[in-house]
Symmetry: C2
Subunit: 197 residues, 2 copies
C-alpha cells in the first residue's frame, strides 16, 4: 500500500539531494530544508529519524537517480565500445540532466566523506566500488568483442577514465573553462585509441 508519507519523503529527498550537491551532505540541515519545502522542522525530522538517516537516504536516492539516468539507458547500446561511449556521454551530462545545482553529487560527497568514518562513508564507498566494477565490466566486454586488444588492463582503463571525468568536473565548475568539453573529448578519444585492437 502506497502511503502519503512515501510521496512526501520522495519530494524531500529530491530537494535534499540537489541541495547536498551544493552545500555537501554535512551542509544539509532540517531547518533549511523545512523552510525551502514549507514544512515544519519537526515534521520533516520525523520522516528520517536523524540527520544521519537523512544523509543515508540521500545517498541512496542519488544512486538510484544515477542508475536510471546514466547506467540503465546506456545499457541499451551494443556491448563493447558503443556502450562505453554511451556511458561517457551520459555520465558527462548527468549533473545537468538531474538538475544538480552543485555539479555531480558524488564528486562532492567523495571529497567530503573521504575522511569521516561512519555508515555514510561506508555506503558511498560501496556504491563507488560497484560503479567502478560496472565500468570495468564494460571494458572487459569491449575486449571480448574484439574492440580492444587483450593487453588492456580494465582497472587501469577505468582509473584513467575516472580521472578524465574528475578533471572535467573541476574544469567546468571551478574554472569555468569553455574548452572543458573539448578537453574531455580529446582525452577520451586518446584513451580509446590506445585501447583499440
Amino acid at each position: 500500500m502506497i502511503q502519503k508519507g512515501d510521496i512526501t519523503r520522495q519530494l524531500i529527498l529530491e530537494h535534499a539531494t540537489a541541495l547536498a550537491s551544493q552545500v555537501g551532505l554535512e551542509g544539509l540541515s532540517f531547518g533549511r530544508l523545512a523552510e525551502d519545502l514549507d514544512l515544519s522542522k519537526s515534521g520533516l525530522f520525523a520522516h528520517f529519524k536523524s540527520l544521519q538517516g537523512l544523509q543515508m537516504k540521500v545517498l541512496e536516492h542519488a544512486a538510484e537517480r544515477f542508475t536510471e539516468t546514466v547506467i540503465r539507458p546506456a545499457l541499451k547500446a551494443p556491448r563493447g565500445e558503443p556502450r562505453l561511449r554511451a556511458i561517457f556521454d551520459r555520465w558527462r551530462r548527468w549533473p545537468k540532466e538531474s538538475r544538480m545545482a552543485g555539479g555531480c553529487f558524488f564528486v562532492a560527497a567523495a571529497t567530503e566523506l573521504d575522511d569521516r568514518p561512519g555508515p555514510a562513508r561506508d555506503l558511498l564507498v560501496s556504491q563507488q566500488k560497484d560503479w567502478l566494477e560496472t565500468l570495468a565490466g564494460v571494458v572487459r566486454s569491449a575486449i571480448a568483442e574484439g574492440h580492444f586488444h587483450r593487453r588492456v588492463d580494465p582497472e587501469q582503463f577505468v582509473y584513467e577514465l575516472y580521472g578524465l571525468m574528475l578533471a572535467y568536473h573541476y574544469s567546468v565548475r571551478l574554472l569555468n573553462d569553455p574548452k572543458a568539453d573539448r578537453r574531455a573529448e580529446t582525452a577520451f578519444e586518446s584513451l580509446m585509441q590506445r585501447a583499440k585492437a
Copy 2:
C-alpha cells in the same frame, strides 16, 4: 619588527589549514580552533576579523606551503622532462609531506567552493589558474628542449595530468586502493610516452 602576534597567527594558520583539509573551509570554526590550540575564542577571533578573513588567510597559507614544498624544490631539476617528473613526485607526496590530515587541501577546497561565489572562491580560482599555467610552462619547456614533440598541446597535457592526480587522490583517500600509486605511475608514464618526441 617581528611581533608576537605574527608567530601566534602562523601557529593558528598551520593548524587551521590541516583542519580545513579534513572538515573543509566552511567546516572551520573559531570555537573548535580555540579548543584545539588552548586559546580563547575571542582572542583567536581578534587575529582575523571574521570567518571569511580566516578562510582567506588559510588559502594563502596553504598556497605558500605548496609553493615551498612542491614547486620551489622541483624547479631545481633541469628544465623539461626531469622537472616535470620532479613535480609529479612531489605533488603526489605533498599531502603527506605537509601533514594534511585530510588529504590535499586544494582538492577539498575546489569541490567545496566551486558553487559558492565570494572572495574565497575568487582567490582559489586565481591560485589554481596560476598553478595550471606554471605546469603548462614546464610542458612548453619540455617541447623547447626537444623532450616532447611539437604537436603536444600543453593545456591538454596539463588537463590529463591533473585528472590523473585527482583520480589518485580519490583512489587513495576514498577507496583506500593499495594499487593507487602504481595506477598513477602507469598513467603518468603513458602520458609521458605519448608526448615523447
